[in-house]
């Protein structure tokens, strides 16, 4: 009987002495898990940032190609205007439209640079989602709509030469 009691006491002492160690182990496991979760979250954010940069780069290259196309079209229209002017024809409307197209092209170029800087800032921002709303607006209104307006002005210019 005494032996049994001694055994119970020994077990109780062992458990009590082990309790802080167990608690520490549990705390360590929880903090490791939290660290891993945090690490995972950071990796996901990096992955998304990389993805955004690639998307944006792809879109920028296409916009720049579109702008180059408009510039080349404008040069060709200018060349035609000069030739027709030499022939004594009235090209004033075409000249006005061409000038307007060039203004829109320059505005689009400038807005694209702003959007590039805006994206960098948005990615570094504490509120990236909100910051991107402005970048998007700048791209749509400042770049894409200006490109379309420039194209329309070039169409009007060539019509005026017909």
């Amino acid at each position: 009987m005494i032996k049994k009691i001694m055994l119970y006491i020994a077990i109780a002492v062992f458990l009590i002495s082990a309790a802080p160690v167990l608690a520490r182990t549990t705390t360590n496991a929880t903090s490791t898990r939290l660290e891993k979760m945090q690490e995972r979250r950071e990796r996901l954010a990096e992955y998304r940032i990389r993805n955004i940069r690639r998307f944006f780069g792809n879109m920028s290259r296409r916009i720049e190609a579109a702008i180059r196309r408009l510039e080349r079209l404008a040069e060709r229209i200018e060349s035609r205007i000069e030739k027709m002017k030499e022939e004594g024809k009235d090209v004033s409307v075409a000249e006005t439209e061409l000038a307007e197209a060039r203004v829109k092209i320059n505005e689009a170029i400038s807005a694209l640079e702003d959007a590039k800087a805006g994206l960098k800032a948005a990615l570094a921002s504490d509120t990236p989602k909100e910051a991107f709303v402005k970048v998007r607006e700048g791209l749509v209104k400042g770049v894409i709509e200006k490109i379309k307006a420039a194209h329309q002005a070039l169409v009007e210019a060539i019509r005026a030469l017909e």
Binding site: R40, R41, R43, L44, A45, Y47, R48, I49, N51, I52, R54, F55, F56, N58, M59, R61, R62, I63, A65, A66, R68, R69, L70, R72, L73, R76, I77, S79, R80, K83, A122, L123, D126, T127, P128, K129, F132, R136, L139, V140, V143, I144, I147, K148, H151, L154, V155, I158, L161, E162
Partner: protein, 87 residues
Amino acid sequence: MDHNKKIIIIIAVIVLGLAAVWFASKNWDMSGLDVTLLQYTSIGEFENMSTSDEIAAIEQDLNNTDFSDLGAELNSIEKEFNSGLAE
């Protein structure tokens, strides 16, 4: 098949299994992610055109200019921004 060969095959299978488990555990957090696939759209359509200053040629190139998908990536970019960069 002799005994040694069997052991080598078993070891190889175990090593491959462990490698697969290691690879899966290393990459599991990227799986199941709703990451939008990149759509590489060509810029060739903007590069090809005539150099003539004849009205008909210019008009044709103007008509063949399509800017409808210039901002095609914007929705994908927005989706990525909304997917938790702010977390």
